[in-house]
Symmetry: C2
Subunit: 112 residues, 2 copies
DNA sequence: GATCCATTTCTATAATTCCAAAAACATGGA
DNA sequence: TCCATGTTTTTGGAATTATAGAAATGGATC
């Protein structure tokens, strides 16, 4: 991932409505949601919603597919992981003995 | 984490200079770096750097401590993990059988 | 062709970004 | 103590960029 893509992805999420949209799509899973469902769930006018969805899709964090007259959106998990990897690249100079906090999920979730 | 804090953290990273600063601090680990070091490494004027560091510190992603006349900054890993957890909350409706991509690091790094 | 869903245009408002200059603050000698 | 020096922050103001939503447009379905 390059810095420009990372900034674009972060900027896409750095807005109240878009963050709410993204989180809803994360919860919806691979199936995603149709634009109308998002608009109703969040109470966002169609024009505004479309503007935000375009920003999210352009960032790569959200995928778009057309289903007849419906526009379906879903979260792209691969893109999010690429972003997180970029943010934590070379964490603590890659010295894992110093840097336990980097991957707490491993520490927490590996069965003993 | 609440939406306002999340937006603030994401907005803090959604700027080229601040993202570069943050990544440098991540690499520097808990020891962090002094403002002057950051300015020299990235070629950012002092006034601009101070403005960006203030934004990062206010977001909680970066910690600040005064050491005599030096200002030392370091990445707050706990804050970053809270942000990531917020972004992936209830991923795929918490149905892990559907949602492997949510924690690929576990899949990758658990010793067989 | 009427209806429904979504997107594009458009305009006004608001927020961000940059950095030079000045100010604030700490330190270590005259 | 007072001053010179080095580090960082604040101030101020111009240019850029983002935002919201009404109105108009574009496609798909029946």
């Amino acid at each position: 991932m390059d810095p420009i893509s990372a900034v674009r992805a972060l900027a896409a999420l750095a807005q109240e409505s878009r963050l709410a949209i993204y989180r809803l799509l994360v919860q919806a899973g691979p199936a995603g949601l149709v634009a109308g469902q998002l608009g109703e769930a969040l109470g966002i006018p169609a024009a505004t919603l479309s503007f935000h969805l375009k920003t999210l899709a352009h960032s790569g964090l959200v995928s778009h597919r057309q289903e007849g007259r419906y526009a379906r959106y879903s979260a792209d998990f691969t893109a999010m992981h690429a972003l997180i990897d970029y943010l934590s690249a070379n964490c603590c100079g890659a010295d894992r003995s110093v840097c336990l906090p980097c991957e707490p999920s491993i520490v927490k979730e590996i069965p003993a």
